[in-house]
């Protein structure tokens, strides 16, 4: 056990799975970096350096830099998954899903069901989401709820290094297409992460903090916003229970309802949009299945309904924060 960053934990998961299983391949834009350029290979490991070193160990037959052709290499990853490989396709930014949406939702998601269960598609799509780097609307979205809409896909949203490693190993070993959504603001986060491989099952929420007054559901980087708010609220005498579902598909609705049964109050904080997003989904589940448990109306803390601006001051206004969450919790405590 050692302190490792989110970046190191993800790299280690891929490295260990590629050593364990020769059918695991990695493909995407600049996953090695520098291919064919005449200088040093293994130049990037992706823009955040997450996959650095892998091409040196596994070679260009298993770590493949692709052209900027998301539709082609995503389709190829699906075809390879149907043909005996276990690909990890790196979609550099989740925003670029726009280019290969057809492959993900009409090919990968449908392949098994539409063809009568003949195939399995053991594909992991690693991608990066989230605001905070001042890179505007086309590189900052948290689009994971969109993929959670589709039967046939699984969606994983890890909030820290420990979960990232265990969930990624589960994703790679899974026989279905999994969208693994890393938050770009978390790569430097350090946690104790075991050196050996381990798995974390999908669809099991992590109870981050227990408390009897309010349930807060948070995923990805919002877990850390929730933790800070809960510490502050505890000083005011309000005890928050924080649940991180960790995967939005499957979604552990049972744990959310159990917690609401204890607290009677629910606040959902999420970085995806305010409409038709993760917060809306969780609110709908609790309204439908746990209405009688509620002592107060559910509150969603989300970004406003607007594309994401580059200007740092505006971007900070966009991202849900501790102050907004504290206001929301205080409000549900009024009823």
């Amino acid at each position: 056990m050692a302190g490792k960053t989110y970046r190191q934990a993800i790299n280690e998961a891929i490295l260990q799975e590629m050593r364990r299983d020769s059918t695991v391949i990695l493909l995407g834009e600049d996953v090695a970096g520098g291919t064919g350029a005449g200088g040093e290979g293994d130049a990037w490991g992706g823009p955040m350096g997450v996959t650095r070193g892998l091409v040196s160990e596994f070679g260009v037959g298993r770590v493949l830099d692709t052209p900027i052709s998301e539709a082609a290499y995503m389709g190829a990853a699906i075809g390879a998954a149907a043909s005996g490989l276990r690909p990890i396709a790196d979609l550099m930014f989740i925003d670029f899903a726009g280019v290969c949406f057809d492959q993900i939702v009409n090919q990968a998601a449908k392949y098994r069901y539409m063809y009568g269960g003949q195939d399995k598609i053991p594909l992991t799509i690693r991608t990066m989401m989230g605001a905070g780097l001042g890179i505007s609307s086309q590189h900052s979205q948290s689009l994971y709820p969109i993929f959670s809409y589709f039967a046939g896909l699984k969606v994983v949203v890890p909030s820290g290094p420990y979960d990232a490693k265990g969930l990624l190993i589960s994703a790679i070993r899974d026989d279905d297409p999994v969208i693994f959504c890393e938050h770009k603001a978390l790569y430097e986060m350090v946690e104790d992460v075991p050196d050996e491989p381990y798995t974390i099952p999908f669809g099991e929420a992590n109870f981050i903090r227990s408390g009897g007054d309010v349930t807060i559901v948070a995923m990805s980087s919002m877990v850390h916003v929730a933790t800070k708010a809960a510490t502050e609220l505890a000083r005011q005498g309000i005890e928050c229970e924080i649940l991180d579902p960790r995967t939005s598909s499957p979604l552990d609705t049972e744990s959310i309802l159990e917690s609401v049964e204890e607290t009677g109050r629910l606040v959902i904080i999420d970085e995806s949009g305010p409409r038709f997003g993760m917060a809306s989904e969780v609110a709908a589940v609790v309204a439908e299945e746990g209405f009688a448990l509620l002592k107060a109306p559910i509150i969603k803390v989300t970004p406003p309904f607007v594309p994401i601006p580059a200007a740092p001051n505006l971007e900070q206004l966009y991202i849900p924060d501790v102050a907004q969450l504290i206001v929301a919790v205080n409000k549900v405590m009024e009823s």
Binding site: T23, I25, G61, R62, L64, T66, P67, S69, A71, A72, Y73, M74, G75, A76, A77, I78, G79, A80, A81, A82, S83, G84, L85, P87, D102, Q103, N106, Q107, R112, Y113, M114, Y115, G116, G117, Q118, D119, K120, I121, P122, A151, G152, K154, D174, D175, D176, F202, G203, S249, P250
Partner: protein, 324 residues
């Protein structure tokens, strides 16, 4: 050169597709076939010319005009018909229907409504064949309409830079749905796009089984030897509409009739093999009779087959225990 036996297999396959599609045209009009149906009649020489070059380790990817390629690849024709009728014992248990025939055990990676996606998926199948050292190749049959999809251009580039064991056949039947190739495609010769992606490209008469067979053989050999992908454009005419029910008012009068009379792939095949004394006419005639009988049985059985059980609705969404 193909043996007499191989020629008879090819003829039987083409005749089976023709009879199957002509009958489907009649049956569809009567009702009882769910969804859209896109017939392959007229284009048999390309699917059969392709599949005659493939072995069990190879895979075929194709489009919504799916019945012909499925039969050519050797999928069980009873299961093909049942799938088109969306029955429980269809190739895909009635989930895919006419446009999504798929049969892993026959090396039929499948028909796809994403008309250009087969080229991208084929890149992956080819990559897997190379990494797993199976010696297999992938063949993607796509129509002229798909040539204008971005995913096809992207995938052609990917296949070329990675030198994948992939063969791409553009079946140019003159129309992308109801829009003419002459209007929709810049540069009327689709095969010339190969030059931009640094791969060989040829055009063949898509009503000539032997021309298709010969070019595909070269392309498959090249792919199998590790020299990368090729494009073959098969110019042809479809005998029916984009889908059944298409009134085809956009087509020149007599286009189909002239082709049926003077350029039909089955007639030309017969003429060719008889002129060269490579088969007995009586063998061809026997095949015609046997196929007619087979098609009768296929349709009878398909129409009588059960629909999928209601308990099947929520099955096989995921490979794992979790089903959503």
């Amino acid at each position: 050169m193909q043996s007499t036996k191989e020629l008879l297999v090819a003829y039987r396959s083409m005749r089976t597709i023709r009879e199957f599609e002509e009958r489907m045209h009649i049956e569809f009009a009567k009702g009882g076939v769910p969804g859209f149906v896109h017939l392959y009649a007229g284009q048999e020489a390309s699917a059969v010319g392709v599949c005659a070059n493939l072995s069990g380790k190879d895979v075929l990817l194709n489009t919504h005009r799916a019945h012909g390629p499925a039969i050519a690849r050797g999928a069980d024709i009873f299961a093909v018909a049942k799938e088109i009728y969306c029955r429980g014992e269809g190739l895909c248990k009635g989930r895919g229907g006419s446009a999504h025939l798929h049969d892993v055990k026959s090396g039929l990676w499948g028909a796809n409504s994403g008309v250009g996606s087969g080229v991208a998926l084929g890149c992956g199948a080819a990559l897997a064949a190379r990494n797993l050292k199976t010696g297999g190749v992938a063949v993607a049959l796509v129509g002229d309409g798909a040539v204008n999809q971005g995913v096809v251009s992207e995938a052609l580039n990917l296949a070329s830079i990675w030198k994948l064991p992939l063969v791409i056949v553009f079946e140019n039947n003159g129309y992308g749905e109801a829009t003419a190739v002459d209007y929709a495609v810049a540069g009327k010769d689709l095969y010339k796009r190969a030059a931009a992606f640094d791969m060989p490209g040829v055009k063949v008469d898509g009503h000539d089984y032997f021309a298709v067979y010969d070019e595909v053989r070269l392309a498959v050999e090249r792919a199998r030897a590790g020299h990368g992908p090729s494009i073959i454009e098969a110019k042809q005419i479809r005998y029916f509409g984009h889908f059944e029910g298409d009134a085809q008012t956009y087509r020149p009068k007599n286009e189909v009739e002239q082709c049926r009379q003077g350029n039909d792939c089955l007639k030309r095949f017969r003429q060719h093999v008889l002129n060269e004394n490579r088969v007995e006419e009586s063998d061809l005639n026997s095949i015609d009779t046997e196929v007619a009988d087979l098609i009768d049985r296929v349709y009878k059985e398909a129409k009588a087959a059960r629909f999928p059980g209601e308990d099947e609705l929520m099955q096989s969404i995921y490979a794992s225990e979790y089903q959503g």
